[in-house]
Symmetry: C2
């Protein structure tokens, strides 16, 4: 039921809070965690207009940085006895999460979200999380502030 967890993270406080729930499910039969970070390509075309480096260079740096953070989380999870798979994807966060949900055939998704949902488009993790809840096929545990 909680065997294979998809845990998408943007390395925010909210995501860290959700990670605590992931760890807690070890005792409920959870065995494997798919650790997912999506590099949001949607912002990159804007970014490239102002950046001195090319998009490929920026992406490479973002990927390296993400990898480093993921390695740390992987270490923590492995210490608890989880099997871990790291996936760093590029694209639209919600679409990528749904793609990985299916591709990895996970049992459940655990994700953090900012407090109460507002309709402000700026609440990125918020809107991504709520969209995910609506569109996912598998159960979603959404952890708020």
């Amino acid at each position: 039921m909680f065997k294979k967890i998809l845990y998408p993270t943007d390395f925010s406080v909210e995501a860290a809070r959700a990670l605590a729930y992931v760890k807690n499910l070890k005792n409920a039969g959870s065995e494997e965690v798919v650790l997912l970070h999506v590099i949001d390509r949607r912002g990159l075309s804007d970014l490239s207009r102002f950046a001195t480096k090319d998009v490929a260079g920026i992406l490479g740096e973002m990927e390296l940085k993400a990898k480093k953070e993921m390695d740390e989380i992987e270490r923590e999870l492995k210490e608890l006895g989880f099997k871990v798979r790291i996936r760093i994807e590029k694209g639209d966060p919600c679409r990528e999460m749904l793609r990985i949900e299916e591709e990895e055939n996970v049992s459940v998704i655990i994700i953090g979200a900012r407090g109460k949902a507002s309709s402000l488009p700026k609440m990125l993790l918020g809107s991504v999380s709520y969209n995910l809840v609506r569109k996912a096929n598998k159960p979603v545990l959404i952890v708020k502030k």
Copy 2:
């Protein structure tokens, strides 16, 4: 983290599916379940126009029926070692769930939902669940078909 679970049920297949997740959390430190059924008062004023009995009579019957179903779920949960509290409330389902969430100071809410959310207003459990996810303060596990 999963100590006190709020489990709202409308006795649907989706709610039954969510119940399986409630039971599974026993091993993750869950101790108590607040079993909640909300008799949706919103539909009752319409109903009373067509019914031969008065609203109080209809409510009483609904309550008795709900109590019977709740007793059965309570028995199942107690067999697994859970402490159980039964609450039957009347009103707007989402508002009542949020009220009980706060009143009972639960750790997490586990609720069923129909498949992919559509915007059809007829998808009652759907819209109630998604509203709950948006407005709840505590983590919500939403279990789909």
